[in-house]
């Protein structure tokens, strides 16, 4: 009886599907490829999972509220490059990192102000910031300044490359962030606000929830998380790259939808952001390890996305019809 309850509970999680798929891929890879547990492979998996999950956590908070952020890749790139700049200006590591994170949060806050208080659609606003900060990345990295962005302090490189119990510090940070946000979302009133607002914005307004403030906050967190992902990437690769985070926003969006989020809002969780991201990265890994032409990757990811969204839509339609709403 107890076991059955646990099973029901597990099944009711929004990320249940993506979790299953992750396990499936994991088993396939573990059985099918001798190289999967190779240390190099495990490390490279971590190095992509950790930063991407950070972005996905921020994105997921917005998705729960029925919005999204297309500027995460550009914020990631800009903050990473900005961090590299600060580090090479002889600032203490911790200060440089904090300033870079603050910059990301500030860009997110700009998105938030425009969406929440100026009433512009998240699509337009975040496409705007996406282009602005991607453009700035390109400008910086093609200028003479780019040459000087190497040679980081040793402690920063250690953050990116030492291991504790087999995992990078960034992986531990990621786990910590995911756990903290998952607890907030599931256990606190503040966390529930995301779901109330995403589920029924007009009711949430009439019931006095701070809809605008939460919108602003969610975009700011998304900016902060993207910056954290950028800093992680720079620490790991020991260099700022012009292509850091380029085009990643679509991958992150897909990871969130596969991980149980819905663009209509009201559902999802950061655990799903993690499993969705792991799924995409394992898929990528499978293409590499099995030597499949990576050009097929897009087709497979697109197909899975369509499947998830279609099932979601059909279930919702059926329910609305059963209740006589359409």
């Amino acid at each position: 009886m107890k076991l059955k309850m646990v099973a029901q509970k597990v099944k009711s999680f929004d990320c249940f599907f993506s979790f299953l798929v992750c396990v499936f891929f994991f088993v396939c890879l573990a059985v099918g490829s001798p190289y999967f547990f190779n240390q190099q492979n495990i490390l490279s998996l971590q190095a992509s999972i950790a930063p991407n999950t950070m972005l996905a956590v921020g994105m997921m908070l917005l998705i729960i509220m029925g919005m999204f952020d297309l500027s995460v890749g550009s914020i990631m790139g800009f903050s990473g490059i900005f961090c590299a700049y600060l580090l090479t200006r002889n600032l203490p590591v911790i200060v440089a990192v904090l300033i870079a994170l603050a910059a990301g949060a500030a860009i997110g806050a700009l998105n938030g102000i425009l969406v929440a208080y100026a009433g512009i659609s998240p699509l337009i606003v975040t496409i705007g910031t996406q282009f602005i900060f991607r453009g700035l990345c390109e400008l910086i990295m093609t200028s003479e300044l780019a040459v000087s962005l190497t040679g980081f302090p040793a402690s920063f490189l250690e953050f990116g490359n030492t291991r504790f119990l087999g995992l990078y510090p960034m992986t531990w940070i990621m786990l910590l962030v995911v756990i903290i946000f998952q607890v907030i979302l599931m256990k606190t009133y503040f966390g529930k606000w995301f779901y109330y607002i995403g589920g029924n914005k007009s009711s949430a307004t009439t019931m006095g929830f701070p809809v605008k403030g939460m919108t602003f906050l969610a975009f700011t967190i998304s900016g902060l998380m993207s910056a954290l992902g950028g800093v992680m990437s720079v620490a790991r690769s020991q260099a700022a790259s012009r292509y850091l985070g380029n085009g990643i926003q679509v991958d992150i969006l897909i990871a969130c939808v596969v991980g149980g989020g819905s663009l209509l809002g009201g559902k999802g969780g950061v655990a799903g952001a993690l499993t969705g991201t792991i799924f995409l990265i394992l898929l990528d890994n499978a293409f590499n390890l099995f030597g499949i032409n990576s050009l097929f990757k897009g087709v497979v990811i697109g197909g899975i996305l369509m499947l998830v969204v279609a099932v979601d839509g059909i279930v919702a339609l059926r329910r609305m019809k059963a209740q006589g709403k359409i």
Binding site: K192, Y196, G199, G324, I326
Partner: protein, 511 residues
């Protein structure tokens, strides 16, 4: 009664939306431990008043005093902290959340963490109190509409408020659930809680309330103590009772002959939610008014008739032939046009010019040599501009530059461009001034005389009385009856619209 007994006092409250006066000088007092009903037709201002008390909108003038304290800022959180809970007319549950999360959405004090176990237990208790069979951990999206409504009521009752506002709480409930609600409300009254209760079911009001305040057209008509002398008929006469002699409206004298062929016939329209077996027929050139209070299913019926909403059963016969597929394209092909009640969202294209709007359905006949002819489109539009005397600067302006009345005329022009045989019209004169209103009513009358059949869905009773040859009244999703022209009056319509079927039969026998 002393000052201490007063829970809520409304003093000279008025609310204006632009030039429209939704509420004028309302003053009323609600005592502690009282069930105070608000009664009035659609648009009388009941919901507006509720929204002011609950802090969703601010009043233009006047003061609201809650538990001895004056409301200075109008915000939902402020009202709630002063002890006001509200159940809205529209279902406002969070379908993505569980039942207990819907019943207890607010923080208790400054608590950050959700005391889940405790809330589930309390939710279970309040569910049992109503004798309901819902699990507190069920997702609300999996519940039936009536269970969802019960969840919302439970939410308001669980807030420990001492003033509870219920706006049409029973519109989606069945008899058993309504009975349970009544029982709980009486219990709350014993506990000294004040309840403001809005319902269109007049029998319910007489049954439960201690006193009844009546609103009409945004004005306060008086508060009546519900002692034994209060009857449903008295209340109805306070709700209606406009002076027709002095008004602009003239009662119509129908000129439809009995042997006129039926143009439009509806059989057995039924939807999953709301509409139950509605049948009627309209003769050629007749204007059939369709009236019902909110929640009676008129809006749904009108959308179903044009295929904008799915139906479970029901056929439409047009000039004797069954229409095989009821969808907008097919209906327009048969010459049946639909005029939405919402000019902004479902009527005009506000980012295109007035001319582009007017020619929309007639584009096929506007071509010369396969291309759209500017000349033909201008002529077509100007024809309507003259016919309706639409006031505008240029037909190349956007519809937003015209007044509401002229926008409404433009919308009619759009429909008339294809020479419709049947028109389904919703609220033809909502939100427009009296002059334009009369013009539109006269025009509709003329149109019907020329042979167009009109179904007019309206909540404006005087308009219905002026316009209709017959009136169909909807009540609780059913066809409550059709009144012939010479028997149409505000009172006869209201009786069918507000009373439930059984009581009406009893009343008919007595009178």
């Amino acid at each position: 009664m002393s000052e201490k007994d007063i829970a809520l006092e409304i003093r000279n409250v008025a609310k204006n939306y632009g030039n429209i006066k939704a509420l004028r000088d309302i003053s009323l007092t609600v005592h502690k431990g009282e069930i105070h009903a608000l009664l009035g037709e659609n648009g009388a201002g009941k919901s507006t008043l509720i929204k002011i008390i609950s802090g969703e909108i601010s009043s233009t003038e006047g003061t609201v005093v809650v538990n001895g304290k004056k409301l200075t800022t109008f915000h939902p959180t402020v009202s709630r902290s002063m002890g006001v809970a509200v159940v809205h007319q529209e279902l406002s549950v969070f379908e993505n959340m569980t039942v207990y999360e819907n019943i207890f959405p607010y923080t208790e004090g400054k608590k950050a963490f959700v005391p889940k176990k405790k809330l589930i237990q309390e939710a279970q208790k309040s569910i049992e109190r109503f004798g309901l069979n819902i699990s507190p951990t069920e997702k609300v999206s999996n519940l039936t509409a009536s269970a969802q409504q019960m969840v919302e009521i439970l939410r308001a009752l669980s807030e420990n408020a001492n003033i509870i506002l219920l706006d049409e709480p029973t519109s989606g409930l069945n008899a058993k659930e309504t009975e349970a609600l009544m029982r709980i409300l009486r219990q709350l009254r014993e506990e000294g809680i004040s309840i403001i209760y809005i319902s269109h079911r007049i029998a319910e009001i007489v049954q439960i309330s201690d006193c009844v305040s009546v609103l009409r057209d945004g004005c306060y008509m008086g508060t009546f103590v519900n002692d034994e002398s209060l009857t449903e008929h008295m209340l109805i006469s306070h709700m209606v009772g406009r002076d027709f002699e002095k008004s602009i409206y003239a009662k119509k004298v129908s000129a439809i002959k009995d042997d006129t062929p039926v143009a439009f016939e509806v059989q057995g329209f039924t939807s999953k939610k709301g509409i139950e077996d509605v049948s009627f027929s309209v003769r050629k050139g007749e204007i059939l008014g369709v009236v019902g209070l909110e929640g009676s299913g008129t809006a749904e019926l009108s959308r179903m008739l044009f295929g904008l909403q799915s139906r479970e059963k029901g056929e439409i016969y047009f000039e004797g032939n069954k229409i095989p597929h009821i969808n907008p394209t097919e209906m327009i092909r048969h010459g049946i046009m639909y005029l939405s009640n919402n000019r902004k969202d479902m009527g005009l294209y506000f980012n295109m010019s007035i001319m582009d709007n007017v020619v929309t359905p007639s584009l096929n006949s506007m071509t010369s040599g396969g291309l759209l002819s500017e000349h033909k489109m201008q002529d077509h539009t100007l024809e309507f501009v003259n016919e309706f005397s639409i006031v505008l600067d240029s037909i190349y302006d956007k519809p937003g530059s015209m007044s509401g009345g002229n926008q409404q005329k433009a919308m009619l022009s759009v429909c008339l461009g294809v020479h419709p045989k049947v028109m389904i019209i919703n609220e033809p004169t909502r939100g427009i001034d009296v002059g334009a209103k009369l013009e539109i009513l006269q025009f509709l009358d003329k149109l019907a005389k020329e042979g167009c059949t009109i179904l007019c869905f309206s909540s404006d009773l005087p308009e219905i009385i002026t316009l209709s040859d017959r009136v169909l009244i909807m009540n609780s999703g059913k066809n409550a009856g059709i009144i012939e022209c010479d028997e149409i009056s505000e009172t006869s319509i209201m009786h069918l619209a507000v009373m439930d079927m059984k009581e009406r039969a009893a009343w008919n026998e007595n009178s």
